[in-house]
C-alpha cells in the first residue's frame, strides 16, 4: 500500500490520493466479510453435505428410473397410475382440512390465553402437552377411544345420540383426529406467539377512540394477525402433508388413507427402488412448495408492517 503512495508525485494539496486503494481485506471487511465469517463455515458445509447434496442426489436419481424408459419414466408412472396418482388427492384431502381446523381452532384459544393471568403456565403446558404423546400412544389411544367398543361410542350410545357405533378408526376420520391432536399444539403456539407480538398500544389506541371489542378485532387485531396466520397455516399444512406413521397405524393405509409418504417409503425401502422413492419425494416437495407459495402470495397482498410479526 505504501509503495503505491510513494509513486504519486508530490502535489500541492490533493484532497484524497486516488491511487491509494485499501487492501482487499479492508474492502471485504467493509462489506461485512472478515475472518469472523469462518465461524459459519462448519454449519454451512454441514448442511451442504447432508441437506443439499442428498437433495440434488435424489433429484438426479429420480431421473434415472430402475426400469429404464427415459428420464421422466418415474414421473410418468406416478401420474399415469391411478393408484399412485390418487395418493396426492388423499394427502391433500387430509392435510388441508387438518391445517384449516388447527388454525381456526387456535385463534380463539390464543386470544383467551394471551393476557397474563393466574394459571397461564399450567394452561399453556396442558395445551402443548400433546406434543409429548408420540404417534404410537396417540394411535393406540385413538384406536381404543374411538373404536367400536371405545369410551366415545359408549358415551354416544348411552346418551342415545347414535343407534350403532360410529366407524371412526381405520379410516379417514382416525387419521384426521390424529393430525389434529398432534398439530393443534403447534398451531396454537405459533398463533399465540404472533398474537403476543402485536403491540398492545395499538389496541389501546383503538379502544381510546371508542372501538368496541368487535371493531378492535375486525379492524385492528385480525389484519395484523393475518400474515402470522398464513405462516401458521403453511407450517401446519406441511406437517400434515407428510403424515406417515399415523396413516399406517390409525388409518386404512391401502385404501382411504393411502397417503403419498407411505408410497414414497414403500418404493424406496421396501421395493428398494430408490429412484421411484426419490421421484415421489420430489413430487411431495413440489406440491408442498406450490401450496406454501400460493398462501404466501395471497398473504403478501396484506399489510406487513413492523408490528405484524416477523415473516
Amino acid at each position: 500500500m505504501s509503495a503505491t503512495d510513494t509513486r504519486v508525485a508530490p502535489q500541492p494539496a490533493p484532497p484524497e490520493p486516488p491511487a491509494a486503494r485499501p487492501a482487499l481485506r479492508h474492502r471485504l471487511a467493509e462489506r461485512g466479510i472478515d475472518r469472523l465469517l469462518l465461524l459459519a463455515v462448519p454449519g454451512v458445509l454441514f448442511l451442504a453435505v447432508l441437506f443439499c447434496y442428498p437433495f440434488f442426489y435424489g433429484l438426479g436419481l429420480s431421473f434415472q428410473p430402475a426400469q429404464g424408459g427415459g428420464p421422466f419414466a418415474n414421473y410418468r408412472l406416478f401420474f399415469s397410475d391411478p393408484y399412485l396418482r390418487e395418493t396426492l388427492w388423499i394427502t391433500l384431502g387430509l392435510a388441508v382440512p387438518a391445517a384449516l381446523i388447527n388454525c381456526l381452532a387456535a385463534v380463539p384459544v390464543a386470544f383467551r390465553t394471551r393476557g397474563v393471568f393466574r394459571g397461564r403456565r399450567l394452561i399453556t403446558t396442558l395445551l402443548v402437552m400433546p406434543i409429548t404423546l408420540g404417534t404410537v400412544l396417540t394411535a393406540q389411544g385413538l384406536l381404543g377411544y374411538l373404536g367400536p367398543n371405545g369410551w366415545f361410542n359408549k358415551a354416544l350410545l348411552g346418551l342415545g345420540i347414535v343407534d350403532e357405533p360410529l366407524a371412526l378408526v381405520h379410516n379417514y376420520w382416525g387419521v384426521l383426529a390424529s393430525l389434529i391432536i398432534t398439530g393443534f399444539p403447534f398451531s396454537y403456539l405459533l398463533t399465540l406467539s404472533y398474537l403476543t407480538g402485536i403491540d398492545p398500544s395499538l389496541e389501546q389506541a383503538a379502544a381510546t377512540l371508542g372501538a368496541d371489542w368487535r371493531k378492535r378485532l375486525r379492524y385492528v387485531l385480525l389484519p395484523l394477525l393475518a400474515p402470522g396466520l398464513a405462516i401458521t397455516f403453511c407450517l401446519s399444512f406441511v406437517l400434515a402433508f407428510a403424515v406417515f406413521p399415523s396413516a399406517q397405524l390409525v388409518g386404512d393405509p391401502r385404501k382411504s388413507t393411502h397417503v403419498i409418504s407411505i408410497e414414497a417409503y414403500q418404493a424406496a425401502f421396501q421395493k428398494f427402488d430408490y429412484s421411484l422413492g426419490s421421484a415421489i419425494a420430489m413430487i411431495m416437495a413440489a406440491v408442498m412448495l406450490a401450496v406454501v407459495v400460493l398462501v404466501l402470495a395471497w398473504r403478501s397482498l396484506l399489510y406487513r408492517g413492523a408490528t405484524g410479526g416477523k415473516g
Partner: protein, 296 residues
Amino acid sequence: MADLVQDPTADAVTDPAAPPWWRGIRPGTWIAAVVFGFFFLQLAGVIGVPLVDSLGTRWFTSWLPEGWTTKWYGSAWREFQLGQVFWTTALVSVLVVVLSVVIGVPAAYALARRDFPGKKAVLLLFVLPILVPPLTYGIPLATVLYKFQLAGTLTGVVLANLVPSVPFVVLTMTPFIEQIDPRIEAAARMCGARTGSVLLRVLAPLLVPGILAASVLVLVRTVGMFELTFLTAGPDSQTLVVALYYAVFSAGIRTQQSIDAMAVMYTLSMLVLLVVALRFVNPTQLVTRVKDDRSA
C-alpha cells in the same frame, strides 16, 4: 376458564341491576372455552385408554378393566429390551445436542454480527431443513447414507438427526446473540482479548441461558423425532419412538398392554423433558420477541 382471565378490557359487571355475570362474557370466550373443553375431553379419552389399558388385567367391552396390575411395565421392559433402547436414545440425543450446539452457535454468532452479500442465501439454507418435513429430505438422505454404508449405524442416526437440529440452534440463538450489546465485545478487544477469549470468556457466559434453551429444545425434538431415525436406524440403533413403532407394526403377536406400557413410558419421559424445556423457554416468544411486561 373465563374466571381465570383477568382481562383489563373485559366489561366488569358489578352493578346489581346489571344482567347476570355470564351475560358479560364475550362470545370469544365462549368459543374458546368450547374449543378448549372439547379438545381436552377428547384428549383425556385418547390418553386415558392406553394408560388404563397398561395398568389393567383384562379389558374387553366394559368401561374399565376387570382388575389392576403393574406387571405390563416389567414385561414391556424385558420384551422390548428397553434398557438398550433407552441407552441408544440417550446417547443419540446427547450427541446430537452437543454437536448441534458446537456447529450451530458459532454460525449463529457470525450471522448475528455480520451483514454480508449472500447472507439471505445462507439464511435460506438454515431455514429450509426446518420448514420442509423430515420425510421429504429424509428419503434422499437415507439413500445417500446407505450408499456410504452409514445407514443402520449410530453415526447415521446422529448425522440424520443433526440436519434439522443445527439450523434449529442457529435460528434460536441468532436473536439471543443480537440482544447482546456488541460494545461489550469491543471493550474486551480494547483490553487486548483475542477472538478466542472473547468467545469463551465474554460471550459464552452471556449465552449460557440461550444455549441451555436451544439444547433442551433440540433434546425434545430429537427424542421425539420419528421419521429421520426410522429411515436411518438399524436394529441396534433404534431410539424409543422407532422401537415403539416397530413394536406395534411388525408382525407377530404382541401383548397390547405391553405396547401401551411402553407408550406410556415414552410419553412420561417426553413429558419430563417438555416440562424442563418450558422452565427454560417461554414458548410464546419463539417467533416474535416482545417484552413480556404487558400485565397492566
